[in-house]
């Protein structure tokens, strides 16, 4: 594992350090200006905040300049992302576009699609959601049943997607669907289409989280027309396209930092002179955070295409999929360790609407604790993937 990485040499260069300062200052100023009080568990959809992030050039920042990007390094994007997560900034309106659909379009999209969507994402004006899971396709994504039938000039799509975060607020979503039902291998015959969420035949219904929060949706597609120019990449290559960029996605700071503000609040509550038990717990949390971040940072730097690479898409020659799965597996457990440590050291009960930040964050994270080890690849699926790499083919 991590054979390509020299951990001892890994450090933030001066430019990234400067950027770190700028993002911290930006977040302090904007949180105050927007009177924003962060909540944990569900990243919030905040179009105004997203536009302000975009104005600083921090959405699609690794993309080519001609598509609205800044051609900055993955490391710099890493710095921006982790700063946002450290204070639970409301990034949902640009999250999927910046992390997933933008890079997919860069790699597989047509010139017209790139021109149309990328600058709009980078300006913080266009939000994407992801249409992957279905009622009978969770971990086994290749079993999706949503069907697209060939019609003149496009496709007619019918099916149902679930767990579609922010579909009720986003402009469009990437839909993984079956374009040839008879393909021999079930990984064949899948394609990715862009469907606008206000298109005729699209119905969005909320799926409420157990605390009443509305972020998830189910999206019904009833004979929705998708023109040919909204097909992403090649028809039949959807599986390859969806799985090709998992390394960055699985190893990013969002896999170990979503409860971090609770750690900060815990430290505030513990004060300057903690007892031995609290000090030990805080020290362990810090050590694990530091170690996870070093691994995540290593993947971001190693996958950076470099000055001569194809901007905005990871270095194709490096396979860190297994390492990324390890980071996600350990990272999502770490997020729970913060919750447990905070809960056991707290002398108050979790209170959803408490004025006190610590008590509120504790309540928010406890109910969301099951989510992180499920979304983006369950613990069990990831571990099978890791083991396959370790063991090789067994007969």
């Amino acid at each position: 594992m991590f054979d390509q990485v020299d951990f001892s040499a890994l450090e933030l260069p001066a430019a990234a350090r400067q950027l770190q300062k700028e993002v911290r200052e930006f977040l302090r100023t904007e949180f105050a200006a927007l009177n924003f009080k962060p909540r944990l568990g569900h990243t919030e959809f905040h179009p105004e905040f997203t536009r302000r992030v975009a104005a600083r050039g921090w959405i699609g920042m690794t993309w080519p300049k001609r598509y609205g990007g800044q051609e900055r390094s993955y490391l710099e994007r890493f710095v921006v992302t982790e700063e946002m997560l450290a204070v639970a900034a409301p990034c949902a309106a640009h999250w999927f576009g910046d992390r997933q659909t933008g890079p997919s379009l860069l790699r597989y999209g047509t010139e017209q699609q790139k021109q149309r969507f990328l600058p709009a994402i980078a300006r913080g004006e266009y939000s994407f959601a992801l249409g992957m899971s279905e009622p009978n396709s969770g971990s086994d994504l290749a079993s999706v049943k949503t069907r697209a039938e060939r019609v003149p000039n496009g496709w007619r799509v019918t099916g149902q997607k679930v767990w579609t975060s922010w579909a009720h607020k986003a402009h469009a979503f990437f839909v993984l669907c079956r374009t040839s039902p008879d393909a021999g291998n079930r990984h064949d015959g899948l394609s990715q289409l862009i469907i606008e969420l206000n298109a005729p035949g699209v119905t969005v219904r909320p799926i409420r989280f157990m605390n009443g929060h509305h972020g998830f949706n189910e999206v019904f597609l009833d004979n929705v027309f998708v023109p040919d120019d909204m097909v992403v990449g090649e028809i039949g290559q959807g599986w390859k396209q969806v799985t090709s960029e998992l390394a960055l996605e699985r190893s990013g700071p969002e896999r170990y930092m979503t409860t971090f503000p609770l750690f900060t609040a815990l430290m505030r509550r513990l004060g300057a002179t903690p007892d031995a038990r609290a000090a030990e717990a805080a020290g362990k949390l810090a050590a694990r955070m530091w170690s996870l971040r070093r691994m995540s940072l290593a993947i971001a730097i190693t996958l950076d295409p470099g000055p001569d690479g194809e901007k905005g898409t990871p270095k194709a020659t490096v396979d860190l999929a297994t390492e990324a799965a390890l980071v996600k597996d350990m990272g999502t457990f770490y997020e729970r360790e913060i919750i447990d440590a905070a809960r056991l050291l707290a002398t108050t009960e979790p209170t959803p609407d408490a004025d006190d930040t610590f008590e509120r964050h504790l309540a928010e994270t406890i109910v969301c604790a099951p989510v992180a080890t499920i979304r983006g690849g369950t613990t069990q699926v990831l571990r099978n993937l890791i083991a396959r790499k370790l063991l090789g083919p067994l007969k």
């Binding site: 594992m1 001892s8 430290m267 002179t273 717990a281 020290g283 050590a287 170690s291 597996d329 396959r388």
Partner: protein, 357 residues
């Protein structure tokens, strides 16, 4: 790739070849009786591995602390029964205080912060005090001792034969000896005021870093053995590696190993750059000790009964993991220290401290 990483790659390759060729079951078994392998030491010393990271002008082999880190990780992977890390730390204490590094295996003392008194006797020094569980003391030629002189700490190069040494051992049969200095005379040229940065705290930090690196290596070995066993052993008509229950455990073990490697090597880099060293070393010792705990138990579980015998190789790694995680402070001690420091700095410093690499 740049020159530094090319040189490192060559060093890693040659060190790996050396340990892979030299260390074998017979040597490791013999070391349980003899305390070490003098034959291996001779070869490793000839290859100048123990003095990597000490400048050539000071009698070292040159290279960086990260180079040494790479070597210690490999030595840990092969369970090399020699005082490599201790010689490196002792060499650093002596060289940075302007003293000559004697040939032969060295160790450092004290490792538990005991006070050793140094009195002037004309141009010479007399050292007195008792030190617990000094690594490898009985097989070394010299001990680099940090002692309290009348005008501050001194570093003294003490001949091991001048000390009263009571043999002891750790879980892995490595010598951990009690050492008594009873007015031991040290010639003028063999002692000097301790250099800036050589004190009880930094000795403990270096020791903790070295054990973290060795643990990372030992964990890699334990995982290798477990993976190999899972592909070879059949039960219920299939390779045990085909059972998801085993696969899940191996995956968890791989995570612990990766975290240990990342933490230990990162801490070496931090110490080399003098950046946030205390946090990095504490984090590395905590994380590698935790990984040692989880990783060793998973490796044994995958092996079933065969893994717990003294004939099978796994115990060379796991006994060391269980010994090393305690040495130079275990995960609880370091966590309390780190937690106190971070609380004292305040919640607003938490995130900046974690990201100040």
């Amino acid at each position: 790739m740049n020159d530094v990483s090319d040189v490192r790659a060559m060093l890693v390759e040659s060190a790996t070849r050396l340990f892979a060729d030299q260390v074998n079951a017979k040597m490791l078994d013999a070391a349980k009786q003899d305390g070490w392998s003098a034959a291996l030491w001779k070869i490793v010393e000839e290859a100048q591995l123990p003095l990597v990271s000490i400048a050539e002008e000071a009698g070292g082999a040159g290279g960086s602390l990260s180079d040494l880190a790479a070597v210690v990780r490999i030595a840990g992977r092969y369970a090399a029964p020699i005082p490599l890390a201790e010689t490196a730390i002792a060499g650093w204490m002596l060289a940075s205080s302007g003293l000559k590094i004697p040939i032969g295996p060295l160790t450092l003392a004290p490792v538990h912060g005991e006070k050793i008194t140094a009195r002037k006797n004309g141009a010479r020094w007399n050292l007195s005090g008792e030190m617990k569980r000094v690594p490898w003391a009985r097989i070394t030629g010299h001990i680099a001792v940090l002692a309290a002189g009348p005008d501050g700490d001194i570093v003294a190069c003490v001949e091991s034969s001048q000390c009263k040494i009571t043999a002891g051992q750790n879980l892995a049969f490595e010598p951990r000896d009690d050492v008594v200095l009873d007015n031991v005379a040290v010639a003028a040229g063999l002692a000097a005021p301790a250099a800036d940065g050589v004190n009880h705290a930094t000795l403990r930090e270096r020791g903790a870093l070295m054990r973290s690196l060795a643990m990372a290596g030992a964990l890699e070995r334990a995982l290798e053995l477990a993976v190999r066993y899972a592909t070879e052993r059949s039960q219920f008509g299939r390779k045990i590696g085909q059972f998801q229950a085993i696969q899940q455990e191996l995956a968890r073990c791989a995570g612990e190993v990766a975290a240990a490697v990342a933490a230990a090597l990162s801490a070496a880099g931090a110490m080399e750059r003098g950046q946030n060293t205390t946090l990095a070393v504490a984090a590395a010792k905590i994380r590698t000790a935790q990984a040692a705990h989880e990783g060793a138990l998973i490796a044994h579980q995958v092996h079933g009964a065969i893994g717990v015998t003294d004939e099978y190789a796994l115990h060379h790694s796991t006994l060391r993991l269980w010994a090393w995680r305690e040495e130079f402070g275990n995960e609880a001690a370091w966590a309390m220290e780190l937690g106190r420091a971070m609380c004292a700095a305040g919640a607003d410093r938490l995130w900046p401290a974690l990201t100040s690499d």
